[in-house]
Symmetry: C2
Subunit: 490 residues, 2 copies
């Protein structure tokens, strides 16, 4: 290709930004911090959405929709919640524009000032619990298991495509329960749903864990998370599931009558994943030639390119590929035949490589004559020439192999870059190289803050179901019962 | 049921509002003009969305996503566009909240004022054409066929659930073309998609037509629409498709180089349907007992209720219904078995009637003994007792019959309430009774405005493909080549 792109080695961050443009996934809009998700990027997000939505429904959830705009006073009802979000709120103060009297153009009409300002939802706990208050009277009304697919706005100062944008798309589950036990089980169940999705579809291994108190969601009693490792060794929080205790029920006075008629506050969870997953997907698998997609999420799984000199050759190759396309379609495999005459085969190869199409087929006149077809796999950049008869079986197997191979490669990367560490001096020397560091920590916010200040590394999570291990905090030498995961993060 | 609800006869408007609550479709939120779409209502919208989305993709469109927030200056670039939307814009002026220094609570931080105000999109032509400008250089980049599923905000002063809300959900297609002919064909194609969807899935007959100049979308050269008749005889605009000419291309300076390298402005369309369709669906079919749903859009197509005294009876009935449920599921028919012991059968019957479930089954001990089941259809409120063996075939046929019957009934209602009228005096007497009035009009905005002022009726559309008919305007007596459709409208 004409243009030279940054490699991961040279400049990981530049590589990422260029890749998002090369693969035509998204671009910056002229609105500060907001992105345009282009059709190819959106098609991947749609696949994610469809799979997750089915999983939410299988686990008993229904979708609903709550208002975009939240009265300022609602946000303030839960103290730590507003503390967490106040600094990044887009605020609606007026509801009309008008022509300036001096003819200078369109201005905000000062007479159309709202009595109470409205906030564009940064997350919907407050507006939803204001509704749940009306919906919940008795234990018979519980549980409420609702999910919402929506856009949210958080006025981030430093933004990056998909990873951190002022507006992003996400789903937010909000559930209400009669008991603490049931709510905790729900938060854990949804964490499992996220982890399964990440591994089975995104081919991205994740650690399931809990956040420390200082990394919790604003308003949660406990925040569960899935943490993935990117190719540069940095951690990326890919999804969170919160046990909210009775915090929002208390803020909005939501009580239910139990079987004996006694009034109790309701227990809550919330959980979400966002278009940030797109960033995680890109950084987990892609290489210097462009995007690499797991077949389960690829909008186009197989692309075929004809190589020909004459129209007769093209017609014969087209016939073959169109017949194959029908077979693949009936097998549930998405197929594109690109016979655009304005572009040369080499250009197309690079284009579909940049877009991460898992399998590429090519057929020239000699292949045609010999009943052969070239099959290239994107993940390993290897090619084989096989018999055209029965190639659909080869492709089907190859797609499964690629899906598995990507997960295995990502697992290997993670295990290679995960290690136990006991010396804080060594930690400080090593942390910039990236990776997960399993270290003992004394459990105090002070030590956590000190490490963050001195190294920019944070405790990503306390991994669930890990056995206890006695040791001493690498920083303070105080006793510790378990190791936690430190890393630098996106 | 304990509560007495308004009938259509008594108070159509009250009937509608109560029905939305009874069927648990949506409710007013505490945010002015914004609604909460509840799970049952959202499930119907999801079905609509899924079917429409497949139709958009079949006709070559891809989904994408553009920012929620539009700089004020963009909106102003197309003169008639800003004129049309300025009066109902939600304006973001600040990006941060803070604690008031006097401790009085959370306030908008005056230091976080935006340099340029942002508008929450009322529609996305401007933000999208600002992107298309970057995407289009040559004829090879055309056509662009994109759709977006999104929320929009129009600060309406008088709102009604689904029909007119400050925030609503919709899809907006935005296409770019090399020629005027191609853009007009696209606008007409999408009108056909909408009309087919309305008739085949919503069982709602529609007129396809064009709007008069004064009823056009702000910024369009031509607005096509589908118009339906509600049970009270009022018209409801259910979808629009706009030929935008080169208006937005000129406002955003979007030109393409044709094959000869000559620069031309790009031609555009936009088209949309919204959650307003939910209001149309409700008002087309429902009756005094509640919602009536066409099977093609019903989240639950069949509900079964056991009638029993003993646990043994319940167990035997449950076994039957669960086996039936599996069969129906394999036939693609959605089924719910409601054996909730806390509610009596009569209560359930009324509940599913209110929710518009097309087919209801009931089985008591005697039915069980005799191998029978009661099958009730929601649309006609008739029941039959049939053999349980093979009831799945009866149900399948019944669902098709109901779908067809609803469309036929709606067609009959429309034809009964559509008539030619030639005298303006008679028109003024008759218009309040509702219905479509086919009248000659002299083609002037003045006459149109006079009729609107004197009767509140508007020209709903100039029906497409209607033969010319010479006559004279019912108001002015001036010559006219065709009749147009007048009606009062939602």
């Amino acid at each position: 290709m004409a243009q030279k792109f940054a490699t991961r080695e040279e400049d990981y961050s530049k590589w990422y930004n260029e890749l998002v443009y090369r693969a035509d996934l998204a671009e910056h809009s002229d609105v500060r911090g907001c992105m345009v998700i282009k059709p190819y990027g959106y098609a991947i997000w749609e696949k994610m959405r469809e799979i997750l939505d089915a999983k939410f429904k299988e686990t008993g959830h229904s979708n609903a929709y709550f208002p975009l705009l939240i009265p300022k006073s609602y946000l303030s009802k839960e103290a730590s919640h507003v503390e967490g979000f106040a600094k990044e709120c887009a605020v609606v103060t007026h509801y009309r524009l008008k022509n300036a009297e001096d003819g200078s153009g369109i201005i905000v009409d000062p007479d159309a000032k709202l009595e109470e300002e409205l906030i564009i939802r940064p997350t919907s706990e407050t507006i939803i619990w204001n509704s749940y208050k009306k919906w919940i009277q008795s234990y018979r009304d519980l549980p409420i298991l609702i999910n919402q697919w929506a856009n949210v706005v958080r006025w981030e100062m430093r933004t990056r495509l998909f990873l951190r944008t002022a507006e992003f798309l996400w789903q937010e589950g909000h559930t209400a329960h009669a008991t603490s036990t049931e709510a905790i089980a729900e938060a854990e169940l949804m964490l499992d749903v996220y982890a399964d999705f990440a591994e089975q579809y995104m081919a991205m291994p994740v650690l399931k864990g809990r956040k420390t108190a200082s990394e919790r969601f604003a308003g949660a009693e406990d925040t569960y998370c899935i943490e993935a490792m990117m190719q540069d060794g940095k951690a990326l929080q890919a999804g969170t599931s919160h046990f909210l205790g009775q915090n929002f029920a208390k803020a909005f006075e939501v009580k239910y009558a139990d079987k004996e008629g006694k009034l109790e506050y309701v227990w809550a969870t919330s959980w979400g994943v966002s278009t940030r997953l797109m960033g995680a997907l890109i950084m987990t698998h892609s290489d210097d030639e462009g995007l690499v997609l797991p077949p389960a999420l690829a909008p186009i799984q197989v692309v075929a390119v004809p190589i020909h000199r004459t129209d007769e050759e093209l017609a014969a190759i087209t016939e073959k590929f169109e017949a194959l396309g029908k077979k693949l379609k009936s097998m549930g495999i998405s197929f594109k035949y690109d016979h655009d005459d304005n572009k040369r085969p080499g250009w197309k190869f690079a284009e579909y490589e940049a877009k991460g199409v898992p399998v590429r087929l090519a057929m020239g006149p000699r292949d045609l004559e010999n009943g052969l077809v070239e099959v290239a796999r994107r993940d390993e950049k290897t090619k084989q020439v096989v018999s055209f008869d029965g190639v659909e079986g080869v492709i089907e197997q190859l797609l499964m192999d690629i899906q598995e191979n990507l997960l295995n490669k990502a697992r290997l990367l993670r295990s290679t870059n995960t290690r136990k560490i006991d010396s804080y001096d060594e930690f400080k020397q090593e942390i910039d190289k990236g990776g997960f560091f399993l270290a003992h920590w004394d459990g105090t916010a002070e030590t956590e803050a000190k490490v963050k200040e001195e190294t920019q590394a944070t405790i990503r999570c306390l991994v669930l179901d890990e056995p206890d291990e006695n040791g001493v905090c690498m920083v303070t030498g105080k006793p510790s019962q378990r190791r936690v995961v430190f890393a630098k993060a996106y």
